[in-house]
């Protein structure tokens, strides 16, 4: 096919047209077009793509000749996913390359007998590249989501040592099985490390308590008890107390307090500690 040779000759035209198209698309979507960075990739992409394409491999995307192209595409796509580009923009990015190539070659194609087979194989090739782009784009997005999920579960389960022998664990967000597991592991590990004998689970940041969450709480309390520590649950809001009773959940085996302060007071009592006011004219009861 001599069309491939023509394509190689017209590399610069393709590049120029593609850049124009992208600037146009970016303007349509109301995004500033970051020429410097994108141009770099666009040039490299056109270069590697046109250099790799041969008569022999045009119908075989799995050919090793395209590895470099795919690698580049993945890089661009991954970057775009992280930068928050929309899937449409990323899709148009690669589709406009196909358009550019076909437009540049349109005159030659009109004269050639092999035009239609060429267009079909080229389309197939470009579509495969687009699929790769999309896959990577989604991978990139998932990467972002996973990172955020990890971060959320990481930041929302701190174990705080509030006093010698007393640990507090404010739980923020929904308490599902995997969260319970992380929270519990952190808590138990911390109990071993600090030799604490009281743990306060504060659930004021838990939006809803259903029977499943209650079961998780009971598990946490049992596990803490097995470690030789006592577990207090604090931060039960009135509406949560209502839900618990209406659901018929039995928390009578657990020490529950409405605020972290009263839980701490209870913990002090367990450890035979007392808080004293240094101002002798006043005395704090309890």
């Amino acid at each position: 096919m001599e069309i491939v040779q023509v394509l190689k000759k017209r590399k610069q035209n393709v590049l120029k047209l593609w850049l124009d198209k992208q600037a146009h698309d970016a303007a349509l979507n109301g995004n500033p077009f970051d020429e410097g960075e994108i141009n770099d990739y666009v040039e490299k992409l056109v270069d590697t793509f046109v250099d790799s394409i041969e008569n022999s491999n045009i119908d075989d995307i799995k050919s090793a000749d395209f590895d470099a192209v795919i690698e580049l595409l993945r890089e661009v796509s991954f970057k775009r996913a992280r930068q928050g580009f929309s899937p449409r923009e990323t899709g148009l990015f690669i589709f406009s390359l196909k358009e550019s190539i076909l437009e540049v070659l349109s005159d030659d194609l009109k004269k050639s007998k092999e035009a239609i087979p060429f267009i079909i194989t080229l389309s197939r090739l470009m579509d495969s590249l687009a699929t790769v782009t999309f896959e990577t784009f989604i991978e990139g997005r998932e990467d972002v989501i996973n990172r955020q999920t990890d971060e959320i579960s990481e930041i929302s389960t701190p174990v705080i040592k509030v006093w010698d022998g007393i640990l507090a664990l404010p739980i923020i967000g929904t308490l599902d099985s995997s969260r319970t597991q992380t929270v519990l592991e952190n808590l138990l590990q911390e109990i071993v490390e600090t030799g604490s004998s009281v743990a306060i689970l504060d659930i004021s940041g838990v939006p809803t308590v259903d029977s499943l969450v209650a079961q998780h709480l009971l598990k946490a309390v049992s596990a803490t008890r097995l470690m030789g520590a006592e577990c207090i649950i604090s931060g039960i809001r009135p509406e949560i107390a209502q839900t618990i009773v209406y659901l018929g959940i039995d928390l009578s085996q657990i020490v529950t307090k409405s605020t972290l302060a009263s839980a701490l007071q209870h913990a002090f009592r367990i450890l035979n500690l007392a808080v004293r006011n240094n101002d002798t004219t006043k005395t704090i009861k309890k």
Partner: protein, 134 residues
């Protein structure tokens, strides 16, 4: 045949489980321990499982059994040194060992046993927790 040593320390018996407890061994331990409690008129049993990293429901039940049997012979049982992973496993297995007292390590366990015994000497009601304010 392998046996787990039972050490006598004053009024207490000390058992340190250093090997993986397979079923036969656990049953032997149960029998040996109860006999030892009876023979020494022990007031407390301290079981250290800090070296145990794998538990199954059978072992959980044996621990519960030992506690219940000892209670019948007027001895308190304290299990100490439960690893975090073991604690989670036991809870997931639905074996929170409700009848067994627990402590973080041997030292704490000894303290607990001592307090239980002295408490037992002075008052008749020792079974409930000291706090009853909820």
């Amino acid at each position: 045949m392998e046996r787990i040593p039972i050490l006598k320390m004053g009024q207490f018996l000390l058992v340190t489980i250093q090997v993986d407890l397979y079923d036969r061994l656990a049953l032997d331990l149960e029998a040996d321990l109860i006999n030892a409690v009876e023979k020494n008129a022990a007031k407390g049993v301290l079981i250290d499982i800090s070296a145990v990293s794998i538990v199954d429901s059978f072992m959980g039940r044996i621990l519960g059994n030992i506690a219940n049997m000892s209670r019948l012979l007027d001895a308190q049982t304290v299990v100490v040194g439960i690893q975090p992973a073991v604690a989670i496993t036991l809870v997931e297995l639905g074996l929170p060992l409700t009848g067994v007292r627990t402590a973080l390590n041997v030292e704490r366990g000894m303290e607990l046993l001592n307090s239980l015994i002295t408490f037992d000497d002075t008052t008749e009601e020792w079974d409930d927790d000291t706090d009853n304010d909820h």
